[in-house]
């Protein structure tokens, strides 16, 4: 890493005129990047981090206006060069860019080969054959097997991870000096995320590029970035090396953000920290500190004056008034009531899934034949009264089909779901509704945009004809209070609410029928970290208060570690491992569970991105491998795994496993591992506790 500066941005602003006003997405950002260095820009949605990157390349939407004192890149001021020069000299040549959505970022109608080679031939200095050689070479480098034949393929024939690899190769075609990666792994599953990050890290070192990594995920930056810039409301609030910022956060926002991450402090902490309120409007001017309204330490001056930039060392600054009088205040309002002892005795099961299978018939393309897709394969599961059962798996593993089947919205081909002793399919819908209710992932699609909040929450009562109108209203208001919704939103529409508030509405709607079981389908994965913390806290509080049972579907192991009692791991429509949280997370028996644990990136600045041990992608459920469905990706697979599917086995500690090699999994892994297998997951991050929680 040299100390030579590659990129220097001074006072970069972006304004986007909207119908009513002007949105000032980026407000005077200063940034510096040295050659060979990785800068992580961290922020929640709407903080302006992507805009900053797009502004750099002038790829903003047509209406946006950019201004900057200077954007010095390798000696040229990009803020003054023409569009033509920028396109011809800089974009794709000196700066490569990778975007968040690999599924939509490649042109669907052109072959991979064409899209790769034209990145070079466009600039006109190499022949098509040269470009082709380079493309093959790069595809190999980014880990796509059989690169020459890939060139003929089209994007839709590749999986998301593969497409992101192609994107990376494309960005590297002209050996750029700087690679901008805008949330490169956000749309990918955890195991793939680790692969891609690892690849990026390796390529960067190998090619000596600089990189700007934009992400909302503190775990990702902690592993992949050398330095961090934290953005809030269009401006950078804190910068420093990764270790400095994460171990010793100075800005109250940075601290708050870290407190919100499950597992940041201690796995067992019952409540997470949270930041009240939401990001302020980005239209118009902001008076004082943009964070003041949400800051537990805000003093009078914070609301009046723009905060000063306080240097702490070389390239280590934070932007805060840091008022003396509130130094002692913490972000964690009402901090921990000490955790109630959890180890409840195993209670009777309230819901039983026995041998459920479900196959869909799908037509691919206009001319294709119908093919069958086995979404669920002989799934058995039980949920016990009062527990939180976490269902973990990557996208496409059949989680959603399973939850829909449990809810009675989908009829299984074989097997039964038994709820309170009766098959759920045989229950009258309304009776079923009063026993089991869902909370969905996307708060934007789970509320009918045409109905008022009061209406949405009260709808279950109306449908089930419970109580008179007035009584229904009272119950709705009470429920709103319980989930922390202000009474004034009663007549509002979902569009007028924030994501967190919407998710509270969804929870209120689920709970108003007093169900026994709530199925939470990734209830926080669409939310920002700070909001996620609020919702997780709320769910746990409600569980205690109302004695609920949760089936909690998630892909985020830190969330699992935070709240689950038991864990079930799903792969390709099967439960491959199921047992107590601690047992499963600390002594995983199935290689897939182990791989998931390896891929989860906790906040650990001192660690690098782990080397992924899983090869390949999550397979297409339509082409199920024979034998153990996991065998093509499994490091331990042998002939038996390839030919016969494993049976369910019960380990001595009461864990269910479906693996031929379960016995030797743990041992084999430790032999294979390069010495950083987390024996005691999750890793307690080494942070200065006195600083964060006095």
């Amino acid at each position: 890493m040299s100390t030579e500066s590659l990129l220097e941005i001074r006072d970069l602003s972006v304004a986007i005129p909207t119908e009513t006003s002007t949105l000032r997405a980026v407000r005077g950002v200063d940034l510096e990047l040295r050659r060979g260095e990785t800068l992580g820009i961290v922020g929640e949605s709407g903080s302006g981090k992507s805009m900053t990157a797009l502004a750099l390349m002038n790829l903003l939407p047509p209406a946006a206006r950019r201004s900057a004192a200077c954007v010095n890149f390798a000696g040229t001021d990009l803020s003054t060069v023409s569009e033509k020069e920028l396109a011809g000299q800089v974009r794709g040549r000196k700066i490569g860019m990778i975007f968040q959505e690999p599924m939509t970022s490649l042109n669907p109608v052109y072959s991979i080969g064409r899209q790769l080679t034209e990145a070079m031939t466009l600039h006109g200095e190499v022949s098509a054959a040269q470009a082709r050689r380079r493309a093959i070479q790069l595809l190999e480098k980014v880990g796509l097997p059989d690169p020459a034949s890939r060139l003929k393929q089209y994007p839709h024939e590749l999986s998301g991870g593969q497409r992101q690899r192609v994107m990376i190769a494309m960005a590297l075609m002209n050996e750029p000096e700087l690679l901008i990666a805008d949330e490169p792994t956000t749309a990918l599953d955890v195991t793939i995320q680790a692969q891609i990050l690892h690849l990026l890290r390796g390529l960067q070192t190998e090619l000596g590029m600089s990189m700007i990594l934009i992400t909302h995920d503190l775990g990702v930056v902690s592993r992949a970035a050398d330095r961090i810039a934290v953005m809030y409301a269009g401006d950078i609030v804190e910068t420093g090396t990764t270790a400095q910022v994460l171990n010793d956060p100075r800005h109250p926002y940075t601290r708050g953000l870290l407190e919100c991450v499950p597992g940041y402090r201690e796995a067992s902490a019952h409540r997470l920290g949270s930041i009240p309120g939401v990001v302020p409007s980005m239209t118009g001017d902001i008076r004082g500190c943009a964070f003041a309204a949400r800051c537990p330490r805000a003093a009078e001056e914070c609301f009046i004056d723009s905060p000063p930039t306080r240097p702490l060392g070389p390239a280590r600054t934070y932007v805060c008034h840091d008022p003396e009088e509130t130094r002692s205040r913490s972000l964690l309002e009402g901090h921990d009531r000490e955790q109630t002892p959890v180890n409840k005795p195993a209670k009777e099961s309230v819901l039983k899934v026995a041998g459920v299978s479900r196959t869909f018939s799908v037509r691919r393309g206009m001319f294709g034949k119908r093919k069958s897709l086995r979404a669920l394969d002989n799934i058995s599961l039980e949920i016990r009264k009062g527990e939180v059962l976490a269902l973990v798996g990557e996208s496409g593993c059949g989680k959603s089909t399973l939850t829909r089947t449990i809810l009675g919205l989908e009829t299984p081909d074989s097997g039964t779901v038994t709820l309170a002793g009766r098959p759920v399919g045989a229950l009258p819908p309304r009776q079923r509704a009063r026993m089991i209710q869902p909370v969905f992932q996307d708060p934007y699609s789970s509320l009918n945009p045409r109905k008022t909040i009061g209406n949405i929450i009260g709808r279950p009562l109306q449908v089930n004809q419970l109580g008179a109108k007035a009584e229904q209203r009272t119950r709705v208001r009470r429920m709103m209070e319980l989930v922390g919704l202000p009474a004034r939103v009663f007549n509002s529409f979902p569009d007028q609410l924030s994501g967190g508030q919407r998710q509270r509405v969804a929870i209120a709607r689920a709970l108003i029928l007093d169900p026994e079981i709530v199925i939470c389908d990734e209830p926080t994965s669409a939310l920002d970290v700070s909001v996620q913390a609020q919702i997780l806290n709320l769910l746990l509080d409600l569980r205690d208060e109302l004695d609920l049972t949760y089936l909690f579907v998630t892909h985020d192991l830190s969330v699992v570690a935070h709240l689950a009692d038991r864990v079930a791991v799903m792969y390709l429509g099967e439960i491959v491992e199921c047992g107590d949280r601690d047992t499963v997370l600390t002594h995983p028996k199935h290689p897939y569970t182990r791989a998931l644990l390896d891929s989860a990136l906790s906040i650990a600045p001192e660690l690098d991105v782990p080397e992924p041990r899983l090869t390949g992608d999550f397979p297409n459920p339509m082409n199920r491998p024979a034998g153990c469905p996991f065998h093509p990706r499994c490091p331990l697979a042998d002939a038996q795994c390839r030919s016969r599917a494993p049976e369910v086995e019960w380990a001595a500690d009461g864990t269910l496993v479906k693996c031929w090699r379960a016995g030797d999994a743990a041992g084999a892994f430790s032999q294979l591992s390069a010495g950083q297998t987390p024996e005691n997951w999750p890793d307690p991050p080494k942070i200065n506790k006195e600083e964060s929680a006095p």
Partner: protein, 309 residues
């Protein structure tokens, strides 16, 4: 994880703006606010309002009875042309009926047929669209079959054949035009329904015990209303033009109803000599239809959730 950070603009603002303004505007208020700044919509609405007034108040505004014939005053030119009379501002037709009065009454006919036919089309199309989109399976196939039947036969020919066989009357014209103009509704509502039915609030409704009918009517339909309204407006225009075309071809509303298309058809034989008989109703038709289209485009612009800037 699917945290998306849009670069489009609106989504970015939305979150912040909402909280800032502490629950700003409801969707309806937003639409009205946008409408006030939409010139096309305002102009269209204005013209339409005036024409609707003429249609409603025709008995008071028309100087003569549109059906009253006076054979001795046939084919008078407009008043300002040599030979015209000021008592018949726009002249008279082949039976000596006052042309201005017939044009004013014509607005009634056009609007009645436009709205009537578009309503019938909407009822058929939306019902089929929601059924096909929500229930899918063989019902979807059946609806698809109907659509192919409808599209494969030239619609004007079909309408003409039907009117021809059933007989001409305003009601028949309304029903036949309506019954042949539902594909647009169907296609849009079907695809919207397909999209909406996958949304979580539909799953939530079914989890709370709603029947399929309840879901279709109470959850899905309200979300289609904006689109239906836009299509409705545009289909009113289409129906009006269709009626005019039909009447022009002699298979629309029966004589002596003052329909603009019929008036053009009647004037056509003499169009080289009494061109006003053709030009005037044509202009009325053009203005009415353009106003409706402006309104429809405007409504679409102001109700669309993510307007392209």
């Amino acid at each position: 994880m699917t945290i998306t950070e849009s670069v489009g603009g609106n989504e970015l603002t939305s979150e912040a703006e909402r909280e800032q303004a502490q629950l700003g505007l409801t969707p309806g208020q937003v639409a009205i606010k946008r409408a006030r700044r939409h010139p096309g919509l305002l102009v269209g609405f204005g013209i339409l309002l005036v024409m609707a007034l003429f249609a409603v108040l025709a008995p008071w505004l028309a100087p003569h009875d549109p059906y009253l014939q006076n054979l001795s005053l046939r084919l008078l030119p407009p008043a300002w042309v040599e030979g015209g009379q000021w008592s018949h501002l726009l002249g008279t037709d082949h039976l000596g009926r006052d042309y201005l009065s017939r044009i004013i009454y014509g607005a009634r006919i056009s609007m009645m047929i436009g709205i009537g036919a578009a309503t019938i089309g909407a009822i058929i199309g939306v019902t089929l669209g929601v059924i096909a989109g929500y229930f899918g399976g063989w019902l979807d196939q059946a609806v698809n079959f109907l659509v192919t039947c409808q599209l494969a036969v030239p619609s004007l020919l079909l309408i003409m054949a039907l009117v021809f066989v059933i007989g001409q009357s305003i009601t028949v014209v309304i029903f036949v035009i309506g019954a042949t103009h539902w594909v647009f509704y169907l296609v849009v509502t079907r695809s919207a329904t397909l999209r909406i039915r996958e949304l979580d609030f539909v799953a939530a409704a079914s989890a709370m015990g709603c029947s399929r009918l309840q879901i279709a009517v109470k959850e899905i339909l309200p979300n289609l209303l904006n689109q239906i309204l836009v299509i409705f407006t545009l289909e009113v225009a289409v129906a009006i033009l269709n009626e005019a075309t039909l009447s022009f071809l002699g298979l629309g509303v029966p004589s002596p109803t003052p329909s603009w298309g019929l008036m053009i058809a009647e004037g056509k034989t003499a169009m080289f000599f009494q061109p006003w008989l053709v030009i005037l109703p044509g202009i009325a038709l053009f203005v009415l239809v353009i106003a409706i289209n402006l309104l429809g485009d405007g409504v679409r612009d102001v109700t669309v959730t993510n307007r392209r800037s």
